[in-house]
């Protein structure tokens, strides 16, 4: 019979109505978004104090211009190099017969657990003046090495410790890619390279863009690396100005920094980063691996080189300092177990809060058809992009100004610290929860509704159990980054409250590297553990 036998699926079904969202959800998500944006009010308040003419004067100084140029150079170099490094690595570990593929798959993601300031101090210690390398080369008449300080060192360190963002997103996208598409291209007279360029690349581009965004925001906002590498970018200068009571300048520079962040987000949006990465799109036939032939071992050497530089250098340096022991001079820097407890406790608190308050935004963004979801999600990103220095200083400022006795007596010190972390890392919880929500068919809660459950009941009995792994994964991510967070901790920690991070900072700042070894190694270990949790939660396939 000739009737219309076209399968009607998506076309016949309208996009899920915003109805399931409900206005309660919008209000909750809106409150969270506003709270997250609150610290930025500091910039505005301070900006008004300076006035327009004063602001113009400060911003047109030569120093400001050089900061802008330096920051752009750093962000551009780190992002570009990360993509150049991460995409081939992702391809090698997913699609080829690379030797030790499983090992490299994990090892190449591991640099993410190394806080960049630990990496930076290790690299300075290894390759800087009077560093380990120069000591070793001195007998051969090498008097000076090219300097590690400045743009080169900052770029090197930041690239090595942030490329995994691109690596992980690209890998995930490559794994879900249906390889029959590539095979189809090959049968249509495309070489491997042409097929990659015309079929694979367009499909993994949203993933690369998403990863690059994280890298760019990280590079822009990182405080530790440029500080140690003595490279004048926004974060370093803001911190210096603030400590030198140049608060107006600090606020104005923060404002510029926030504007640049917003510009990057807008650019990412235009570059197609908002494409929803397709999930559940048939299972790629992963059997067909690209045979590397004689490039097999050079490829392994490439992967090995990256791993060695990113992991072996800092571990080696830390090991060296550990063996040499502490000089015993620096009082108050001795390691205490309580630092571990403090670090873990505060990070757990931040992770829990972020997972809970991130839920309304994630739900609205994943399910709602209203514009609010998108706006709120973007709003939560701003806090993530705003450097920890700015958040920290803003909360110090706001706390001192409006906190009154509560702030002075330290009653709100811990809540403020946790709030600072949540503002910084909320998007990690939102992103992970949102991704797992998108994997839950909207028909499931609808089915629960038709079986007599209220909207909340349907969410609790059906959606929540299904997104729990994603929530735990997101919380673990917040935990990991909170453990490593430097500037917010430095600025907001209550007096006498010391964590692993503050110990490392004080030891390296005062040159007592030996004292940094134990807390750094513990920090690395705990971070690595939570990384493994994340990998297993998000189904990071090791095969």
């Amino acid at each position: 019979m000739a009737g219309n036998a076209d399968t009607s699926t998506a076309a016949d079904r309208p996009a899920s109505s915003g109805w399931s969202g409900g206005s309660v959800l919008v209000v909750l998500a809106g409150l969270v978004a506003v709270a997250v944006l609150l610290p930025l009010s500091w910039i505005v308040i301070a900006g008004f104090r300076v006035g327009f003419a004063g602001a113009l004067d400060l911003l047109l100084r030569e120093q400001t211009l050089s900061i802008v140029v330096n920051s752009f150079l750093l962000v551009g170099a780190v992002t570009g190099l990360s993509v150049l490094l991460a995409v081939p690595l992702a391809f090698l570990t997913t699609r080829t017969n690379l030797p030790f593929r499983r090992f490299f798959t994990v090892a190449l993601a591991m640099p993410l657990v190394v806080p960049s300031y630990i990496g930076a101090f290790a690299f300075v210690s290894a390759f800087g003046p009077q560093g380990q390398l120069q000591d070793a080369l001195a007998p051969f008449g090498v008097e000076t090495l090219p300097t590690i300080y400045g743009l080169v060192g900052s770029t090197l360190v930041l690239t090595l410790y942030t490329y995994p963002y691109v690596y992980i997103t690209t890998r995930a996208s490559l794994k879900s890619l249906d390889t029959t598409l590539v095979e189809a291209a090959r049968t249509l007279r495309h070489t491997r390279w042409q097929a990659f360029k015309r079929v694979t690349l367009p499909q993994i581009r949203p993933a690369i863009t998403a990863g690059s965004l994280l890298v760019a925001l990280y590079a822009l906002s990182d405080f530790g690396t440029p500080a140690i590498m003595r490279y004048d970018v926004f974060t370093r200068v803001i911190y210096v100005e603030f400590n030198a009571f140049g608060r107006n300048m600090a606020a104005l520079l923060s404002l510029v920094l926030v504007l640049i962040t917003v510009a990057i987000l807008a650019f990412e949006r235009r570059a197609g980063g908002e494409d929803r990465v397709q999930t559940d799109r048939g299972h790629g036939n992963t059997q067909s691996l690209v045979r590397l032939g004689r490039w097999r071992w050079p490829a392994a050497a490439f992967c090995g080189g990256v791993t060695a530089l990113a992991l072996v250098v800092p571990l080696g340096i830390l090991g060296l300092w550990l063996v040499r022991g502490t000089d015993g001079v620096a009082g108050g820097l001795a390691f205490e177990l309580q630092y571990v407890g403090n670090s873990v406790g505060i990070a757990v608190a931040a992770a829990l809060v972020a997972a809970i308050v991130g839920l309304p935004i994630a739900h609205l963004s994943a399910r709602g058809s209203s514009r609010f979801g998108d706006v709120f999600e973007r709003a939560s990103y701003v806090g993530y992009a705003v450097p920890g220095v700015v958040i920290g200083l803003a909360l110090v400022f706001l706390g001192a100004r409006y906190g009154g006795g509560l702030y002075r007596t330290g009653v709100i010190a811990f809540p403020l610290l946790v709030f600072g972390y949540v503002v910084r890392f909320l998007p990690q919880a939102v992103g992970s929860t949102r991704a797992s929500l998108l994997r839950v068919s909207p028909a499931l809660p609808e089915a629960a509704r038709t079986l007599g459950r209220s909207p909340f009941g349907a969410f609790r009995s059906v959606t929540l159990p299904l997104i729990a792994p994603g929530q735990v994964g997101g919380a673990a991510l917040v935990f990991l980054t909170t453990m490593k967070e430097l500037p917010v901790t430095l600025l907001l920690k209550p007096p006498g409250f010391d964590t692993l991070v503050t110990q490392v900072w004080q030891a390296t700042a005062s040159g007592h590297y030996g004292h940094a070894a134990v807390p750094s190694l513990i920090l690395l270990f705990v971070s690595a553990l939570s990384m493994l949790v994340i990998l297993s939660m998000e189904g990071y396939d090791v095969k």
Partner: protein
């Protein structure tokens, strides 16, 4: 107005009699400015299985979601057993409608076993009753052996049985099925049609299903409602809708349709295949005398015989082998093209003259020429 015409239209008494479970009155729905459903009226009676049939994008799934309360209509009213559940300012949430739904992808909860899925809607019942009800339903759908299985351990057919049992468990006053068979393999589809109909009839539930597959609609339904572009084209029993379509769209959508142009005369209709007696045409009144009409012929209504050119009225243009049968496309002298179905061993040579003759032993439907659908209550046009 002719009495015959009144007979032709499906009895449209949408009365408020006690038998009516569901009523849609003047339903209107838009998505982002685009009208998906326009002024839809429909009523469903106690115990019947009604199928909304139509092509992709005709609004049938939206209609289902409106009935379930998963969408809100922009206009009109939905009544369940006479009580408004949507429209006129009221909106009853899906969990309070007592309407079950079987989703296209079944929407089984992946973290619950078959048994737990079925029990999901029974959370208000005491445990013993719950268990009894779950047992009864698993028995009804023949899945006692798989009660401990998780959805991903079940085959497509088994998943559908669980979905059916789950939605029937709370004894809804109305059950909705959204493309219930589209997720199944072709072989399984035919088998599950019979099975689902059996289960629904055994459960005695009133049901509305949605499909784009006309064969499925005709084989499982008590009544079929054909939708097109957000409008209801015709409602009737499968036989009525197939044999006496009220619009050319319905005629073509339900099966291969050819149209023979003819002129109504005193003693018969003059067509390219000869004169056809008046009593072989369904409900043709004398008001149409002298008018041009199109007669609907299905491929099994006509035959083409190879004849010498002098006796021929057409020529075979195309042949499509379908296995058990062959479909020949014949162009007639006036340019009309008709499809003729023959047994697979009856060869008719291509591009040769043939005589097409009417072999139908039932009354033929017709449409006034140039008119999309049969006039329901207006005098024939003077075209």
């Amino acid at each position: 107005m002719s009495n015959e015409n009144a007979v032709r239209t499906e009895t449209a008494q949408q009365s408020d009699d006690a038998n009516t479970v569901l009523e849609l009155v003047g339903i209107h729905k838009q998505f982002g400015g685009e009208t998906v459903i326009e002024n839809l009226d429909l009523s469903v009676r106690e115990g019947e299985l009604l199928t909304l049939l139509g092509p992709s994008g005709c609004g049938k799934t939206t209609t289902l979601r409106l009935i379930a309360g998963l969408e809100e209509p922009d206009g009109g009213e939905i009544r369940l057993r006479g009580d408004p559940v949507a429209g006129s300012g009221s909106f009853v949430a899906p969990e309070q409608r007592d309407v079950g739904i079987v989703f296209q992808e079944f929407a089984l909860f992946p973290h619950k076993t078959a048994e737990e899925n079925v029990a999901f809607g029974l959370h208000d019942l005491p445990e013993a009753e719950q268990k009894q009800r779950v047992d009864d339903l698993l028995d009804l759908v023949g899945l006692e052996a798989h009660r401990e299985s998780y959805p991903d351990e079940l085959s497509g057919g088994q998943q559908q049985r669980v979905a059916l049992a789950r939605s029937l468990a709370p004894e809804p006053q109305l059950l909705l099925l959204d493309e219930p068979f589209s997720n199944l393999d072709v072989d399984l589809r035919v088998e599950m049609r019979e099975e689902v109909r059996r289960i629904l009839k055994e459960a005695g539930v009133t049901a509305v299903s949605v499909t784009h597959d006309q064969e499925e609609a005709m084989s499982i339904s008590d009544r079929v409602a054909v939708m097109h572009d957000g409008n209801l084209e015709q409602v009737g029993t499968p036989e009525q809708v197939f044999q006496h379509p009220e619009s050319r769209f319905v005629a073509s959508f339900l099966g291969h349709a050819s149209f023979l142009s003819g002129r109504v005369q005193e003693d018969g209709i003059l067509t390219p295949v000869g004169s056809i007696e008046r009593d072989r045409v369904y409900g043709l009144s004398h008001e149409y005398d002298g008018a041009d009409i199109d007669l609907l012929v299905r491929p099994d209504d006509v035959r083409a015989e190879p004849v010498p050119k002098s006796e021929a009225n057409g020529q075979v243009m195309h042949r499509r082998f379908l296995g058990p049968s062959i479909l020949y496309r014949v162009e007639l002298g006036n340019g009309d093209v008709v499809g003729c179905m023959h047994n697979h061993d009856e060869e008719v040579p291509l591009n040769e003259p043939v005589a097409v003759e009417l072999a139908a032993d039932h009354e033929l439907s017709w449409f006034p020429e140039g008119v999309r659908r049969v006039a329901r209550d207006c005098t024939p046009g003077d075209d």
